[in-house]
């Protein structure tokens, strides 16, 4: 009988796993997908919000594509319980789906600030396609939007809100913006940049409640004046979707604990993406990396192992990039490691900042800020990722980079990073193009 694979969650990790199973398997298997939402990429939602793409553009696999791949689907259904001993997953409508192996790829969900009024009308999260539709419908030219939370996800939709002609105020509880993406110096530069582009920012502001005010919304704070606006977006963090695994016996910590093959503690149960706690490439420690590249790599490794290959994962690297008002902001790896040796540089003539972090003569983290039109900013973004990813000892180049943090390319080329990286692939073979997934026979 054909192996029965069950994929739970059809986001980035789930779809990458399905494609990889089809690429790797020797014999055609049965694949079933259970997903609360149809397959799409969340990180494309900002471009739907600014109307630069149609809604249909966000989908990563349509019903027709899934049928072409020979995938049976339960879309709009949630997994409610998992019984790894029996090899069954029970859905929210009571259907029991038997499997030989399964992948937990249920991602994460947004969390709202625990204040009165947080669930009221015209208060939105921005995580799902449904929520994106709601926000798009609620913003008009001239609207005043208040974003609660100044983290990475908030920043991914900042340009979109401005391009819809809305006025934007960002409020953040921490004393500065982007507290989990860049350091204080970088945050100061981004804050000043945004203010010159008309974005109002209030940091150190503790939201107390949200009230209705004659068809508008009023935000009250523990200290300081009220804010009145037309729409509130809560970008106040996310939590992993683990609750449904209670009683399954699958070990969870901050996420589903997985080994270097993306296997959980339960037999034949894998986990990938936002919901998984895998290895951090830099520290070697377990970590939840709720970013797209980790979901892609996890999904591919899990899929290959489910298809019968034995593929080890080297660990995931935190990489984040966001552009706000033509300023690129990016960070890599252990950019906030307090034990690292650090060197930084600011350019006086343009908004450009670099910070490089070292353990010994290896680059373990970096922060980069620069105009998005600068070729060298874009190219250095990639090379910094390469330096951190390769973990190559930089010898004498370390001192050079510490003195000249803007001279990345020379150090990259001369220390042979290309040679170190070229043999590296995720699956131990060249990657296939997105359109090359074998279709069912």
């Amino acid at each position: 009988m054909a192996t029965r694979h069950l994929i739970i969650g059809g986001g980035t990790a789930g779809i990458n796993a399905i494609r990889t199973i089809r690429e790797e398997e020797r014999e055609h298997s049965e694949i079933t997908l259970v997903s609360a939402e149809p397959p799409y990429s969340r990180m494309v939602l900002p471009y739907y919000l600014d109307r630069s793409i149609a809604e249909s553009h966000v989908f990563t696999a349509t019903a027709r594509v899934l049928a072409g791949w020979g995938v049976k689907t339960h879309l709009g259904r949630r997994a409610a319980a998992l019984d790894p001993k029996a090899g069954t997953c029970t859905l929210d409508d009571g259907t029991a789906v038997p499997y030989d192996d399964c992948l937990i790829a249920t991602g994460s969900s947004p969390v709202r600030a625990p204040v009165p009024g947080a669930d009221g009308p015209r208060v939105h999260s921005f995580w799902t396609l449904d929520e994106a539709r709601g926000v798009l419908a609620g913003i008009a030219r001239g609207s005043h939007v208040v974003m609660v939370g100044a983290g990475f996800i908030a920043f991914t939709i900042l340009n979109s809100i401005l391009s819809l002609g809305a006025r934007l105020t960002i409020v953040e509880m921490e004393p500065r913006i982007l507290p989990r993406m860049i350091d204080g110096t970088g945050a100061g530069l981004v804050e000043a940049w945004l203010e010159t582009h008309g974005v109002a920012i209030r940091t150190g502001a503790r939201l107390a409640r949200i009230e209705d005010a004659k068809g508008r919304k009023r935000l009250r704070f523990a200290a300081g004046g009220d804010l009145t606006c037309d729409l509130v977006i809560m970008a106040t963090g996310i939590k992993t979707n683990l609750d449904w695994l209670k009683g399954s016996g699958v070990s969870v910590n901050r996420g589903v604990v997985v080994d270097d093959r993306l296997r959980s503690s339960a037999d034949n149960v894998y986990a990938a993406g936002d919901v998984a706690e895998g290895r951090d490439l830099i520290s070697g420690e377990p970590a939840v990396h709720a970013i797209e590249p980790t979901a892609q790599e996890h999904g591919r490794i899990a899929g290959a192992n489910m298809a019968g290959r034995d593929v080890r994962y080297r660990g995931s690297l935190i990489i984040n990039i966001v552009e706000v008002c033509h300023l690129d902001v990016a960070s890599f790896g252990a950019w906030d490691d307090p034990k690292a040796e650090a060197a930084s540089g600011v350019r006086a003539d343009r908004p450009a900042y670099r910070k490089l972090l070292w353990r010994g003569d290896r680059l373990t983290g970096a922060i980069i800020l620069g105009p998005s039109g600068d070729i060298w900013t874009t190219n250095d973004v990639g090379m910094l990722k390469g330096l951190v990813q390769s973990g190559a000892p930089l010898g004498a180049w370390k001192a050079h980079l510490k003195k000249n943090p803007f001279d990345v390319k020379l150090a990259f080329i001369a220390s042979g990073i290309t040679k170190a990286l070229l043999p590296e692939t995720i699956l131990g073979r060249p990657a296939k193009a997105p359109g090359d997934t074998p279709v069912a026979v």
């Binding site: 190219n379 990722k385 020379l410 997105p434």
Partner: protein, 156 residues
């Protein structure tokens, strides 16, 4: 597959490859849009071109959330303009720093080997760029290590 082989010791820094590349890719001579880039070494006494290796993993391609990077007939990773949303994930995923982004069009762009007839190789008067059937490699590492010894010891 045929790849761009770089011979840095032959490069004179004439920048014809950058002109040819931008012309082929955009229809205008604008080196700022070139995806092959010439770097100076040792106080502009030697030069070397640098571009996408068409690496086996294709980190740019596997990172793209919408499948906008594919493999063209020449075997090159190629951006499909109509599909690219401009999210920049490929620019941070490519560990060689050979992805580009155009703020005017909000699209990523990269070397696509001109579909099998690379304009840079044709334009180079000294054959410092050749289009050959060979495995991709680190063409510049050894050259650059030699030419930068003085930068590192602080003599220059």
């Amino acid at each position: 597959m045929r790849v761009l082989r770089l011979h840095p010791e032959k490069c004179t820094g004439c920048l014809r490859c950058e002109l040819a590349c931008s012309y082929e890719q955009t229809g205008a001579f604008q080196p700022a849009k070139s995806v092959i880039r010439v770097s100076p070494f040792e106080g502009h006494t030697s030069y070397a071109p640098y571009t996408c290796t068409q690496c086996a993993e294709g980190w740019c391609m596997t990172a793209c959330p919408v499948g906008a990077i594919t493999i063209n007939a020449a075997g090159a990773k190629d951006v499909l303009d109509d599909t690219c949303v401009g999210c920049k994930l490929c620019t941070i995923a490519c560990p060689y720093g050979t992805m580009f982004y155009d703020p005017a069009t909000r699209k990523a762009f990269k070397c696509n080997l001109c579909g099998g007839a690379p304009a840079c190789a044709e334009a180079c008067p000294t054959a410092a760029i050749t289009y050959e059937e060979t495995a991709t490699a680190d063409w510049l590492g050894d050259f650059a290590r030699e030419r930068t010894a003085r930068v590192l010891t602080g003599v220059s």
